[in-house]
């Protein structure tokens, strides 16, 4: 297969400008003749649907939530990066580009990242115009904060709810288009199949989650902006509904899945409390600025934290990484916490947790300063755990947070399947093997507001207006039948185990063997176990109710069935990538101080997997990565 990234020629600063001129435009009067389907209404999908509606295309937008405003982009806390250099601290488009490529441990495509940095400033302007109430300084000008992986202050924020405010901006723009009739909104609709006719993506099959009706929607091109697949681990910081179904169905129809093993683990989450736990909650990483992370020196120490004298505590980050201390990078500190717990020194229920306390900082800075900085986080922690961080050390543990991998796309954000565009977290393109804080929001909005409106026009000029098939096309009927058959099958198994039980079982395997630290033996075990779980799922699962109304178990079952396939590919990719890079940590490959050790000679490529059928090994296609502007180097933040 020819993996043509379609990166324009010329110097990196000129590529996007040149490409924008080279791309063809759709005649304004022809735009309304084209229909575009957008699946997902988060930052990427919402921004794309609104922008395309404004341009005059006929847009249909789908989301599984009851409103477009509830997409999981809403939960992003920290902020959004842009190269405005309002702080006069030496930021520039090139520096944002450089930091992002380096942060991604040199596994992303340079041209895409440069474009991302280039359009980042326009995003801030657009969001301000839409009424996003970004934090302001007393001057009335926009405020910035610092974030990990950068030495400049370039993160724009709206309290701890930046994702919410950006999404509500896109949602407002989308709502206006809905009012004008240029976008038709389908909430509580789940995409269950992609329809490909003669190699072109021409529509989708969806299930109305309220009535159970399965129907086809035809378009001239399809956009998937359906987010990441962290929930393959069962417990993650993602919303409960986040799933891989849309991109996995597209993958099964021929779209290549790139770098599935790049999954980011966030170090400061509230640990699992017990069997009943359904999701993990992130605590802002900023806690580590003033906090100290420790575990008891002795394995199995059952004493209460305040009973453990200073001498019996191991401030392991400060010990192992004396120069970074508690500010060691996300992946490094996540793995260190896991090692401590593996040694039996973990704290809290189940022993999967480490202490983080701010008592030193309280003494040094005073309680008022700590309250101002972290008061809201303390409240959140107490609400969930019932423990008061003013008295007890907090317990934290890493959790799956974001997936850098996704469907392979070219520079135009189109997958190898003609007419299938993929935006935001659902694609693989910009973050390489590790995403920097405040970059996900930037990418979602860049794709939706400022990339796809141009590139989709170029694509549509190749499609004859009015040439799209009807819903009666055999391919649609066939896809509907497949969806109906799958639904029926799930409902008819009538086994003894619940969907959640299988999901948890899959999650445990994924976390144990394909989680923070991976090695050959573990990955092989996972590859053995996942198909077994899958097989049992299809024999023993019980999905109650019918397909003809709101049936949340049926929805979950379909999603878990896809996770059970997707998880295997994730492990497969992790096994193949016999190097460590960014968030992908193969224990066989590390520097003496535990850093990821890349193998650029062998693995400086994008691994794009082709689906070959059930029970068959996927086929690997490689897109070599070339670094002309950023010097390949061992990633170091020392």
């Amino acid at each position: 297969m020819d993996l043509n990234s379609k990166v324009p020629s010329g110097p990196i600063e000129k590529k996007w400008e040149k490409h924008r001129f080279d791309m063809k435009l759709v005649n304004p009067s022809n735009k309304r003749k084209y229909k575009i389907i957008v699946v997902g209404t988060g930052l990427a999908g919402g921004a794309a649907a609104a922008s395309l509606g404004q341009l005059g295309y006929e847009v249909e937008a789908f989301c599984y939530q009851d409103s477009a405003r509830r997409a999981h982009s809403i939960a992003a806390q920290g902020g959004i990066n842009a190269a405005k250099n309002y702080q006069n601290d030496g930021d520039s488009v090139f520096r944002l580009f450089y930091d992002t490529v380096k942060g991604g441990d040199f596994r992303s495509r340079e041209a895409n990242v440069y474009r991302l940095a280039e359009v980042s400033n326009g995003i801030i302007d657009q969001c301000v115009a839409l009424g996003v109430p970004f934090a302001r300084e007393y001057s009335g000008y926009l405020a910035n904060r610092s974030f990990g992986g950068a030495q400049v202050s370039r993160t724009f924020y709206a309290r701890g709810q930046t994702g919410q405010q950006l999404l509500l901006g896109a949602y407002a723009a989308l709502s206006r288009e809905v009012a004008l009739g240029s976008v038709k909104m389908f909430p509580r609709h789940e995409m269950l199949e992609l329809v490909v006719i003669d190699g072109h993506a021409k529509g989708i099959v969806v299930r109305d989650m309220v009535t159970g009706t399965i129907s086809s929607h035809v378009a001239d091109t399809v956009i998937l902006a359906t987010g990441g697949y962290s929930n393959v681990f069962y417990l993650s910081t993602n919303a409960k509904g986040c799933n891989t179904t849309a991109i996995w169905r597209a993958h099964r129809k021929g779209a290549l899945f790139a770098n599935p093993c790049y999954t980011q683990i966030h170090p400061t989450c509230i640990p699992v409390a017990g069997e009943h736990q359904s999701k993990l909650t992130l605590m802002s990483e900023s806690l580590r600025n003033d906090g100290r992370v420790w575990v008891p020196k002795k394995a199995g120490d059952q004493r209460k934290p305040w009973e453990i004298p200073e001498d019996d505590r191991d401030y392991y980050l400060e010990r192992i990484y004396p120069s970074y201390g508690n500010l060691a990078p996300r992946d490094v500190s996540s793995r260190a916490a896991k090692r401590m717990c593996d040694e039996g020194r973990g704290v809290g229920p189940g022993g999967r947790g480490v202490y983080l306390d701010l008592f030193d900082a309280m003494d040094r800075l005073g309680r008022d300063v700590i309250a101002a900085r972290y008061g809201n986080l303390f409240e959140m922690y107490e609400r969930i755990t019932g423990e008061d961080p003013w008295k007890w050390p907090m317990r934290i543990y890493p959790a799956v947070h974001y997936t850098m991998g996704g469907l392979w796309v070219d520079y135009n954000l189109m997958s190898n399947l003609d007419g299938l565009h993929v935006l935001g977290e659902a694609n693989f393109s910009d973050h390489g093997a590790n995403r920097l804080g405040a970059s996900a929001l930037m990418q979602g909005l860049a794709d939706g507001y400022f990339v796809i409106p141009y590139t989709i026009a170029d694509y549509l000029t190749k499609v004859k207006p009015g040439s799209r098939p009807s819903v009666d096309h055999p391919a649609f009927k066939e896809a509907e039948r497949e969806v109906e058959a799958r639904t029926k099958k799930l409902l008819s198994i009538g086994g003894t185990k619940t969907v959640d039980e299988f999901h948890k079982e899959l999650g445990q395997v994924m976390w144990e063997y394909v989680g923070m630290g991976r090695n050959e033996a573990g990955l092989k075990t996972a590859l053995q176990k996942i198909p077994q779980i899958r097989e049992r799922f299809w024999k023993e699962v019980r999905v109650p109710g019918s397909g003809a109304d709101l049936n949340q178990e049926l929805e979950k079952a379909g999603r878990v069935a896809d996770f059970l396939e997707m998880g295997e590919l994730l492990a497969y990719d992790a096994l193949m990538r016999d190097e460590s890079c960014g968030a992908h940590f193969r224990e066989e490959h590390q520097t003496p101080d535990g850093e990821a050790l890349r193998n650029d000679e062998k693995y400086a490529y994008v691994a794009a997997w082709e689906y070959k059928g059930e029970g068959k090994s996927p086929e690997l296609h490689k897109e070599p990565l070339e670094f002309e502007n950023v010097h390949l180097a061992q990633r170091s933040y020392k």
Partner: protein, 255 residues
């Protein structure tokens, strides 16, 4: 701890519905309310019964999906808390807890605790936006906005659209929701050109959808998980009066 749950069960919009009791034993204090329902549902599925249907998604209090009446209070007894963030330590051993869907003519029940809140989307579609084309905004710093105004706007913008205000209001009014959006945008310079039409359109839509009137009870503010103040309702009233005096409502236009 041991709890009795009385949950509203309703098969379909047409079904009359009823409260059904479930005994829950061995509930851990650090179980969230939704996790309690998860546990109940696992049990029900195993027994061959239908699980309780309820809306939920992020489970960290920001998406606005979850929410129902918990013993007579929207989102339950803890202030500034969504249902997903309500933990069982807020209850006592032996408590009986009643869970009912949000009730409003504009929020028809779909199934069990799930209601259709698309009316809130329709209010936003009526005018809860700034018509700024993608790419048309000036530099973000071109218009300074005082920190005080920006913060105040953010206070209103924090609304998660859960509908608890409507559910708690003795009159089933959507004024707090609408006022939050009108204030969020009306406090910003970018929101001024459409300010009057926004008020006229959103209020008219609210009316059309069958929400009740605001009688200034303050129940909405009391249950709002984001603590949105009814001061914004006064602001809405002001905007609406001025707009009514000066302009006639017009439909949303393309250009």
């Amino acid at each position: 701890m041991k709890l009795t749950l009385k949950i509203w069960r309703q098969e379909s919009p047409e079904d009359k519905g009823r409260l059904v009791s479930y005994e829950m034993d061995g509930v851990a204090e650090d179980t969230s309310f939704l996790e309690l329902l998860d546990i109940l549902n696992q049990r029900l599925i195993k027994k061959g019964e239908h699980p309780v249907t309820f809306d939920h998604d992020c489970r960290e209090g920001i998406c606005g999906s979850c929410g129902f009446m918990i013993s007579g209070i929207a989102h339950g007894p803890q202030k500034l808390t969504t249902t997903c963030q309500l933990f069982m330590r807020q209850f006592k051993d032996g408590d009986t807890i009643v869970a009912e869907p949000f009730r409003s003519r504009a929020f028809p029940v779909i199934k069990d605790l799930v209601v259709d809140r698309s009316a809130l989307d329709k209010i936003v579609q009526a005018g809860g936006f700034i018509s700024a084309r993608t790419g048309s905004g000036p530099d973000g710093n071109a218009i300074p906005i005082s920190k005080e105004k920006a913060d105040r706007s953010m206070d209103a913008a924090a609304c998660i659209g859960c509908g608890a205000c409507v559910a708690a209001c003795p009159n089933g009014s959507a004024m707090l929701f609408t006022a939050a959006k009108i204030s969020h945008l009306g406090l910003l310079p970018q929101g001024q050109p459409e300010r009057k039409q926004r008020a006229l359109r959103m209020v008219a839509k609210m009316q059309e959808l069958g929400f009740g009137a605001c009688s200034n009870h303050g129940e909405c503010e009391a249950v709002c998980p984001k603590g949105i103040s009814i001061d914004f309702i006064a602001r809405l009233n002001r905007d609406y009066m001025v707009a009514s005096a000066l302009e006639t409502v017009e439909p949303v236009k393309k250009v």
